[in-house]
């Protein structure tokens, strides 16, 4: 996409509507605009607006700062700074943050991989559930299997189940042109209701031994992932985080170092050009969504085997990890490193606002969890609307915040 000098001046011009505002056009713009400006500004704006909401509702000037401080302290991020606070407590908090970061990385990869192929996978949530439900079956069966085998079997089965769920949407798009946004939304709800049915219906197939409770049995000990970091507290950090980090590496290498990744990206940039170049667009639509689903299914499996161990049907309404993954992918700009940072931010936000971490005296956790949802929504909106950020950035210069206007040298590409 050579746009001449305009694209490299510090103030990017309104991007050309290439690709007619399609996802691929958006991705092309992301790649060109580059930089950290939009994500950082989006996050800043979102937290700012969240602060204003707290200010107005709590009717106190200091309330936003106290609330954000309390949330920040609950995340355990201060563990990285030696000499501040109680190390053990910080470590326990950080443990929780990383516990949530782990699935978020994977659900974000599920969005990002499809995005790089020019598709919007809203089905991460459903693929997560399908993976988790499959994990329950494999995790509660095969008593007496050796640990390594049992874990591998369960994780692979969940991954394949997620890939199947994503692959359905991919196959539908490839064969009939059904829009993946609609089909993944529908598949999400199908997964949720079937999941509830499996756990709730009298004698649900995955229901545990107590027929009065809508929940599954615990997975067998041989299927549980081992602890890697335990400072006490409720849940230790499990080995799933290494699986997630490995998945990020796989994501990066798959996209940038393999033929498959090259084809996926080519289709994402411009399906017509890719087809002209001899790449099967349909095959890549299917593969990209199947691989996406695999990432999300993996998230479900390691959440289950790492710390949940069982599923209660009420969680279908409470757990939005698949949806938050969309925010993570957008904020991380579908790049491996960006996703890591964004997942950590959202994991920290989630843990910092949870009732367990937040002192109700300072800020009501029930408000805080909703504040977190609001901030996530605003970040999604602002990252999606780069024009707004770029417009504000330019307005800043116009008002003169940026000092006297300099004539920027025009760089030739």
């Amino acid at each position: 996409m050579s746009d001449g000098p305009a694209a490299v001046t510090p103030v990017p011009p309104p991007p050309e509507p290439e690709g007619g505002g399609s996802v691929s056009g958006l991705q092309a713009f992301y790649d060109r605009a580059g930089g950290l400006l939009v994500p950082v500004a989006a996050a800043f704006l979102a937290f700012l607006i969240g602060g204003i909401v707290v200010l107005v509702t709590e009717k106190s000037l200091t309330a936003p700062f106290e609330a954000y401080k309390a949330i920040f302290e609950g995340t355990g991020v201060t563990w990285f700074i030696p000499g501040v606070g109680d190390t053990a407590e910080e470590a326990r908090d950080l443990q929780q943050t990383l516990l949530i970061t782990t699935p978020l990385i994977l659900t974000a990869l599920a969005v990002a991989f499809a995005f790089r192929c020019g598709m919007f996978n809203i089905g991460g949530q459903g693929q997560y559930w399908v993976g988790l439900l499959t994990g329950i079956w494999f995790g509660t069966h095969f008593d007496g299997a050796p640990m390594a085998l049992h874990i591998t079997l369960t994780v692979v089965a969940a991954l394949l189940a997620g890939a199947l769920w994503g692959g359905i949407a991919g196959a539908l798009k490839a064969t009939t042109g059904a829009h993946e946004v609609i089909s993944t939304i529908m598949l999400n709800w199908i997964a949720i209701w079937v999941g509830k049915w499996l756990l709730e219906a009298p004698d649900g197939y995955l229901q545990g031994t107590d027929p009065s409770l809508p929940r599954s049995n615990d997975v067998l000990d041989s299927a549980k992932l081992s602890e890697v970091w335990n400072w006490g507290g409720l849940q230790p950090l499990h080995a799933g985080i290494f699986i997630a980090l490995f998945a990020v590496l796989v994501y990066h290498l798959l996209l940038n170092r393999t033929t498959l990744g090259y084809e996926v990206r080519a289709v994402g940039f411009n399906p017509d050009a890719a087809a002209y170049g001899g790449i099967s667009v349909k095959k890549n639509y299917f593969l990209a969504l199947a691989i996406s689903g695999g990432f999300a299914g993996l998230a479900g499996a390691i959440d289950l085997l790492g710390w949940k161990y069982r599923l209660t049907s009420t969680e279908f309404d409470a757990n939005l990890l698949g949806f938050v993954g969309i925010a993570v992918a957008l904020l991380g700009r579908n790049k491996a490193v960006g996703i890591l940072f964004a997942a950590f931010l959202f994991g920290a936000l989630d843990v910092g606002t949870s009732p367990r971490q937040l002192d109700p005296e300072v800020f009501n956790p029930e408000l805080a969890t909703n504040l977190a949802t609001m901030i996530q929504a605003l970040i999604i909106a602002f990252v999606g609307a780069e024009f707004l950020i770029l417009y504000l950035w330019r307005a800043r210069k116009r008002v003169g915040w940026a000092g006297p206007r300099r004539v920027e040298p025009e760089l030739k590409p």
Binding site: G21, D317, E366, T373, A381
Partner: protein
Amino acid sequence: MSVAEASQTPLDRLRRLGEARSLAIIGIWLGVLAVWLSVPPFTIRALVVPAAAAVLGASLGLWALTRGERKLGWWAIGVALLAILVALWFQSEESAELESVFSIGLLAATFRFAAPLAFAAMGGIFSERSGVVNIGLEGMMLAGAFFGIVVVAETGQWELGLLGAMAAGAVLALIHAFFSIHLRADQIISGFAINFLALGVTGYLFRSIYGTRGTPELEERIPNVHLPLIEDIPFFGDLFGNLNLMIWLMFAVVLTSFIVLFKTPIGLRIRSVGEHPKAADTVGISVFKVRYAAVILSGVLAALGGAYLSFGTGNAFNENMTAGRGFIALAAVIFGNWRPFGAFGACLLFGFSSALALRLQGSPLLPSDLASANLLSTLPYVLTLVVLVGVIGRSRGPAAAGRPYVKQ
């Protein structure tokens, strides 16, 4: 000569298609009648009667098929087959058991379940017909449900509550419109953010205003409409004599949506902006204005659906109380092929499946695990996937939906 022929042939084909269409629609209704005959209050025990109606419906469908009306033709055949299956099954069941499930109450419940969906679906149709994809319907419903009930609790007047709900929906829709029209943000991302935003804002304010007590007991809710004249008619009166005001409003909104979209210049403008914005712009239609109006209208309508949930059929607000209804409405829009009556039919079907699911729970008609409402709840989504794939007729959206318009 050749010109005359060329201009006549498509017209003839259209006329033939028109005939086939009405035949197929009659066929579908015959199938529905066949189902109806085998349930209370008729409960006809002779298999011949419903079977005859079904066979007639199926043959009409087949006839329509041969004349090129594929979608509705297949539908007629499908409904007829279903009718025969249902008739066969119900012949063997006890009358009392059937009556416990199939009653006027079931139809009334169908309306109650369908109403919130129908409002949001009409909103979705306006928005998408103008070229703006709106997956934020869910959030707009939720906002309507919450802000409506807040106003009712404060003022004690349901009329003001409806206005409050509409205003809240309009504001959220305005945000969606601004992001997707002016800022040219991806409409999916923007709509998705709207859902999240509504979830966060309503949850936050709900807790901030009402704490853990929940919304206070309402003095007023949206009233029912008593029709003394109709109330005494045996079957009809039981159903229509005492419906909620919002259900009558729903009928009015559906009818108005159809008339506005397909019989007025306004509708022509909306549809042209959604199909080919550049052409519309060229003839002097302001693409931005039409899209803004349509998206805001969609927010207002979706919020009405939410308001009906919180202080029409219900009397309290709960966090995330819409629970995916906005997405069912979206499914109805697609299922109904972006047409008001089609979408309304889909809403009735989805509402009926919800009502049936509720009544089948614990009924001896079905084995217990199949009777689970959860499994029946997947019906709207499965059907939408089926329609999306094009097994029973392909559903096609407006050509420019999802694409921001850049004025040149």
